[in-house]
Structures are given as structure tokens and as C-alpha cells.
């Protein structure tokens, strides 16, 4: 549908330059650079750990409950498995599922919220009451209830977390869309005869997503913690799996072998910190209001 009259394309390159500059400014801020580094490091771990991890995460590779030493940097657990290896493999459990939870919640909640905000009236009432009901429960309680009803396992934990998380994006996107739908460029789209779904897709949604993306990034850390919490309570990943929350449960059973719980705890701290710094940086770059302060 585009009329492409190709020319020098100087406009595009100007935009690319400004984008590169923005990223450069982002990295100059120490906290943000730190966040980017940590997030990138964990991403590398998720993608490549099977090539270089020192041991097999499921095999007993040494004495039981050995304290940290040169062979086992974070010691071994009650079954003699290497804790360091298991923590690294744990990233493969927690991080992809957290990203998937955010993505699904964003898709479902965002879509419902956008439709509610755009069409208003009865659709809005129904969606928003559903949001209110869901948000009336403490998140961990609701997630536990859903996960318990479906049975333990990472897949059901995932469903439980999406159930808990979608209303956040429904609310956010509804507010964004409601603010957006009275903008002049939307009125212009009405006047050229665009259908309502076209207006929503092309003129409202693309512009409403920026702020929501920042929120989603920051939320990622929260979801990592929620995943671990569910596993800690025995409702997420099932025992042999090297999942951080489940590992902390094991650590709680062997209270004096502090390294078993400390290692996955440290992993979570770094992941959440890294993601939060990254999210704050994104907000500074994308949100003019905060940046100008």
C-alpha cells in the first residue's frame, strides 16, 4: 500500500543516527551500562551454557554437601550435584519463562485493554470489572490458587502467572489508548474513512506501546521472582529441574549448607537488578517527560 518513491534516503539515515546517539547516551550512564552488561551476560549464559558448563546439572559429580572449593565454586548439594552448574542452567528455566509470561500477558492484557479503551461502553465495563476482580487478589495467592488447581509443573505455573499479570497491561494500555483516541491524527484517520479496527491497528496501538514496553521490561524482574516463588512453594518447576526457587527450597532443608540457597539467590539478585537498571534506562530514553527533568 505504500507509495515508495525511492530517493537518497537521507531521512532514514538521519533517524538512524539519532537512534545510535540515544543508545550511546544510554551506555554512558553507569547504572544503565551495568544493567545492560548484566542482562547481556545472562543472555549469553542462557544461550551457550550447555557448551561450557563445568558439570552436568543432573548428575552427582562429587561428595554430598561439600562447601565451596576450587572444583565446585558453589559447593555441592544434598545429592552431590554441582550448585554452580545448576544455577547457570537455572537461567534457562527462569528467564525464557519470564519473557514468555510478559509476552503473553502483554498480548492478552494489552489487546483486551486496548479494545476496552477504544470501544468503551459495555466492552470497557466487562473488561475492567474482570481486571478489578483479578487485581483484588494478592498476586502470589492467585498464582498459587491457579497453579494448585492445575497441578504443579512449569507449564501450569506459566499459565498461573499470565492469569495474574495480564490485568496490569490491560489497565496500562486502556489508559494509553483512551488518551490517544482523541488526538488529531486519529481524527484525521476517521475523516479519511478508515475503519475502526484499522484506526486501532495503525494509528492508536503503535503509538500506545512505547510506555508499556518500558513497564514490561521492569516487570520482567518481578516475574523472575514470581517464577522462583512458585517453584519455591512446590508449584512451579518439579524437583530434578535446576530451577532457582526449587533450589532455594532444597537449601532451606539443608540450612547450615548456606551455599545451596545463596547461589540461586545471588543469581536472582543480579538478574533483577540488571533488568531494573535496563528498564530505567529505557524509560529515560523513551519518555521525554522524565528525561527533561
Amino acid at each position: 500500500m505504500t507509495v515508495s518513491v525511492t530517493t537518497s534516503g537521507s531521512g532514514m539515515s538521519a533517524q538512524r543516527v539519532s537512534r545510535i546517539k540515544a543508545v550511546g547516551g544510554l551506555l554512558r550512564h553507569p547504572a544503565i551500562a551495568f544493567g545492560v552488561m548484566i542482562s547481556a551476560a545472562w543472555l549469553v549464559v542462557v544461550l551457550t551454557v550447555h557448551w561450557w558448563a563445568p558439570y552436568d546439572p543432573y548428575e552427582s559429580v562429587g561428595e554430598r554437601l561439600r562447601s565451596p572449593n576450587g572444583d565446585h565454586w558453589f559447593g555441592t548439594d544434598a545429592l552431590g550435584r554441582d550448585v554452580f552448574t545448576r544455577v547457570l542452567y537455572g537461567a534457562r528455566q527462569s528467564l525464557p519463562i519470564s519473557v514468555a509470561v510478559i509476552a503473553c500477558a502483554l498480548l492478552i492484557g494489552g489487546l483486551l485493554g486496548a479494545v476496552a479503551g477504544y470501544f468503551g461502553k459495555r466492552v470497557d465495563t466487562v473488561v475492567m470489572r474482570l481486571v478489578d476482580v483479578t487485581m483484588a487478589f494478592p498476586p502470589i495467592l492467585l498464582a498459587m490458587a491457579v497453579a494448585a488447581a492445575l497441578g504443579p509443573g512449569l507449564r501450569n505455573g506459566f499459565i498461573a502467572m499470565v492469569v495474574v499479570w495480564w490485568p496490569i497491561y490491560a489497565r496500562l494500555l486502556r489508559a494509553q489508548v483512551m488518551a490517544m483516541k482523541h488526538k488529531e491524527h486519529v481524527e484525521a484517520a476517521v475523516s479519511i474513512g478508515a475503519t475502526r479496527s484499522r484506526i486501532l491497528r495503525r494509528h492508536v496501538l503503535p503509538l500506545s506501546f512505547t510506555g508499556v514496553m518500558v513497564n514490561a521490561t521492569v516487570d520482567l524482574g518481578q516475574v523472575v521472582l514470581l517464577t522462583a516463588s512458585l517453584s519455591f512453594l512446590g508449584l512451579g518447576a518439579l524437583p530434578p529441574a535446576p530451577e532457582w526457587g526449587a533450589m532455594i527450597t532444597e537449601g532451606a532443608k539443608n540450612f547450615y549448607q548456606w551455599w545451596i540457597a545463596l547461589a540461586p539467590g545471588l543469581a536472582m539478585v543480579t538478574v533483577v537488578l540488571g533488568i531494573n537498571f535496563l528498564g530505567d534506562g529505557l524509560r529515560d530514553v523513551l519518555d521525554v517527560k522524565v528525561a527533561s527533568k
Binding site: 500500500m1 505504500t2 507509495v3 518513491v5 531521512g11 488529531e184 481524527e187 484517520a189 479519511i192 503509538l207
Partner: protein
Amino acid sequence: MTGSTSEGVLPGEVQTGSETPLLRVRDLVKSFPVRGGVGRRGKSFVQAVAGVSFDLSRGETLSLVGESGCGKSTTARCVVRILDPTSGSVEFDGIDLNGLSADDLRRSRRRFQMVFQDPQASLNPRMTIGQTLSEPLHIHGVDPAESRDRIRELMSLVQLRDGDLDRYPHQFSGGQRQRIGIVRALVLRPELIALDEPVSALDVSIQAEIIRLLERLRDQFGLAYLFIAHDLSVVRHLSDQVAVMYLGTIVESGSNSDVYDNSAHPYTQALLAAAPIPDPRIERTRPRIVLAGDPPSPINPPTGCRFRTRCWKAQPRCAEEEPVLADPGIGHLVACHYPEASNVITSRPDRPIGGAL
């Protein structure tokens, strides 16, 4: 340049008598609900437009003038159906737009378009100019080759380069963006364009350029303009008819010279007296009319004449009886109980002035 259903009408021809005008607005009312505060029950309404009627012929320009909040933009939005009127009728080329189904209305939108006040806000920042301009054509099923030709032709008419099509709105100046907005309104070859203060967000130096461009396009394409302005001097040499609005109603309307040189409503006279004149001799000696206070709230308009709270001629009758828009014997319509025709611009009644403004 086809698509017009009524035959034998030349662009720019002023029509009179029984001929159907291009646009016929009758008793247009648009009210918005006002949310009450905490604990306040029941909805109240604000009548932004409280019964407005006018005709507009092909190729003609009608200017709606008034201060901000008087309902002029709302009127324009009801005419091009960005807003649905609460009551009253808008007939376009004899077709009552109220009676159309949603799809028929969408299809007929190609015949009336709008240019917005803020050229930055009215362009989607995520779409290139090419995407923005081809979207209306795509929606209305114009084939791509034809679309390209139309866009190229119009781009050169408003002095934009073809290369600009690949750029984004933020890469243009305010005047350029407004020209893009004008091209978007023109690509569908409409018969009517509502212009909502198209120059008031622009630098003064660019305003004249855009006005001249609009004039040229009108004459070339035989367009009818519904021109919204808060400043009488901007619309003077562009319009054929002028209607002055105050608090949701038209208080005076007539041809350009009727309203400018022979205004009879005190509000019109106040507006004209407020516009500066680039001749210091006239400017120094002409009478000053300074209105006291702000316009009253349209949620709770005054009884009788809506202007009486700020009018220096108000009599007890003005509070009791709402004046109707009628001709008091001066050749154009005025809604006032005590109309006095005079030329406020020069303060010399009955003497036409030539190009003083």
C-alpha cells in the same frame, strides 16, 4: 476530476434560489456530557453547538469566526462527521448524513475532508509522509498507479519534493507539515474541505503563504471551504460568506462585505474593533470597544440573548427574549434586539473601504 453527481454546476459558481447547496446545515446541536463532581448525581450537558444553520454552495468559502470555546471547531467536526451531532441535520449534496449507514458514511467521506489546526498532532509520527498520503487512497480503493500520480501532482502543487515521501513528520517544518495536511485532505478529490484554524499554529510569515496556497487550490479544484478562524482579519480576503459565532450560536452572518463593513451585532463590532489595522491614522482615531469579562460558561448559558452579559447595549428585554437570526432590513442576518449597522473598522458608516485590511 469526476465524481460529482449534480450536473451543470461549474466550480466556483455561486448558487441561489432552489438549487441544492453543497452543504446544508439545519439546527445543528452538539452537546457533551459533563461529569459531576464527587457525590453529584445526574449528568449535566454542555451545549457546545446550540442550533446552528447555514448553507454552503460549491466553490464558495464560508468562514466561521468566534473566540475559543464558541463551538466553531465542534461545528466543523460535526459537518465532516468526526463527531456525531446530537440533533439537527447535515445534508451534503442533498444527502442527509444522519441517515447513512456506517459503511455508506465511510465511503462518502471522500467527498468532504478536513485540515487540522495543529499540523504536528494531525500527522501520525510513525508513518512516513508517503504512507500517510497513500492511506486514504488505499482505503477508498484507488489503484496504486493512480494514487502515485495524484500524490506526485499534489506534492508539486504545494512545493514539496517527491523525496519527502520517505521522510517522517518530525523532519519537516510547521509550514511544510501543514502543506502535507492539505495534500492529505486533497488526495481524495473532495468537494468540501473543513479547515480548522489551519494557520493559527503557524508563524505569521508562513500564514500568508498557506492562505494563498489554499486560495489557489480552491480555484483550481473548485473546492468549497468551511473555514474556521478566531481572527476576522485572517479570513477576510478568503471568504465569500462570514458567520460570527458566540457561545454555540451564530449571531451574525452575511456576505463578506456585509459583515466587515456593515456589521450590526455588538459582538461582531467588538471583534472587528479588536483587530489591528495597519494604518496608524485610522488605528488612532477609530472607536475602541473593549468587552468586559470572559464568555459565560456554556454549561449554564445566560437567559435570553447569550451575549447580554457582556453587551453594553443590553436592555431588560435581552434577558427575557432570545433574539432570532433575522434580517433587520440591512441585507444580512443578525441575532440582536437592537441592531445598528455601522462600519467599525473605519467608524464611518455607509462608506465602503477598499483594501484597508
